[in-house]
Symmetry: C2
Subunit: 265 residues, 2 copies
């Protein structure tokens, strides 16, 4: 998503050239390229797919809406399996129109997970609940902290449901470092993503994630914290950023690898 | 601030006409009217000043910046005393330029409070730390949760330092209800403010607070929670909202009182 301006073949070529061994994919560009063709492309290039984004949006109240969400999540799980990734990222979903009960919405997520987690496990896919920053609690994700995500995940086996640690979403939270330890100790860090926090936020607050090193987050210390739990997966850089998207994709990829080396390692 | 388009005399007149017995003031309009004159205006109208906004911004690192902030806060305390309110609201301050250590910034706040709290107490003024929504953690307020605010406040006597409970800032937090109980049990709810949460957020995320009833927050249940602790102060409605500010101020005040009756009581 950091370089969504690059079509999949260009992305794969640039990763090869820059020595990037693994990449997280989103469903839309995969569908645009064709699922089977995308899987072949990644396989032929020897490029690991770290995760697929995204399933989720499991907070609907009406049966029809819930059934539709479950169908879509099963499709996402199938796509993840075809792509050869072991992790599907879930964005839980916001409050349905007119609803004001966050706790009830979180319970509906747990209910959906109880049917999706076994389905995913049969296909070798883990579900990773991503807590989103509290500014998205109403319209996008009622799971706002790592502890909340873990409270949900821990109702299921660790190899079925875990969490995403994304610095953009959790950096402000003084309880998040302990929650990282909690997640790591139980093998539930299924994905680790980086973005920096810059201000002012743009309207809609979606596409203002900062390039690594441009913002307020001590990225290196988050990496050290996550790795201190014994976690040793691939780290994703996920920047929703209108400014980056307007530039040449390969140039952004080069810049991002440099920033990563300077501010994360 | 909800009707900042009204100058103080018009505000006082409208409050009298609508039966609003108490109002929270900001320093800027008080200064514009003249401090002594504003105090007289409120006193003559029999209008209670629930709180003065705001002091704070106590996170500077350099001695000059810290001294300047302390001076400004002492001035704010003096103004609160002159206005006859017992509560000064503090917005703690964000990360200084280039800083990335939230915990250290919070310590600097505690250090400043240790000199400001006795100064305020001598003048009959309580300091109320307002946790701001985590989306302001970098540039405005490193105190993002009620628990963090209480961790700071509890280093001081309850009649010197307490907290502000503002629904807009804490509604998303599943630990906030318990923190309300914690604050209420120790007499540290020094101010209770309402605003609703509406999306999409505007650029800069400052002036998009929702009119009561327009958003995702169960305002009535928050009122009940706060009052269940035994708290029985005046409730402030604080809406930073460009749309409301563009309208006739008295009309907005009438609408807000109706919304209050419909969605809070």
């Amino acid at each position: 998503m950091t370089v969504r301006q690059l079509k999949l073949p260009s992305l794969v070529e640039a990763c090869d050239r820059l020595g990037i061994p693994a990449v997280g994919l989103w469903r839309e560009p995969v569908a645009a390229h064709g699922l089977e063709a995308a899987a072949r492309l990644m396989r032929d290039a020897g490029l690991t797919v770290t995760s697929l984004c995204r399933g989720g949006f499991l907070t609907a109240i009406e049966p029809a809406g819930r059934a539709c969400a479950l169908d879509d999540n099963r499709a996402a799980i199938d796509e993840a399996a075809t792509l050869g990734t072991d992790t599907l990222v879930l964005v839980a979903g916001g409050l349905p129109p007119g609803a004001r009960d966050l706790a009830a919405a979180r319970e509906r997520i747990a209910e959906a997970l109880s049917s999706l987690a076994p389905y995913a496990a049969e296909r070798g896919v883990r579900l990773a609940i991503e807590p989103l920053h509290p500014m998205y609690a109403a319209d996008r994700c009622v799971v706002s902290t790592l502890d909340q995500a873990l409270d949900l995940a821990e109702r299921f086996p660790a190899d079925q449901v875990g969490v995403v640690v994304d610095t953009y979403h959790v950096w402000w939270d003084d309880r998040a470092p302990a929650a990282v330890d909690r997640a790591g100790a139980t093998g539930r860090i299924h994905s680790f993503q980086l973005a920096d926090w810059t201000t002012p936020l743009p309207a809609g607050v979606l596409n203002g994630r900062g390039q690594l090193g441009d913002g307020a987050i001590d990225l290196r210390s988050w990496r050290e914290r996550v790795e201190s739990t014994g976690w040793s997966g691939s780290i994703e850089v996920e920047l929703f950023n209108d400014g980056l998207w307007a530039r040449d994709g390969v140039e952004v990829l080069v810049e991002t690898t440099r920033r990563y080396l300077a501010h994360v390692f």
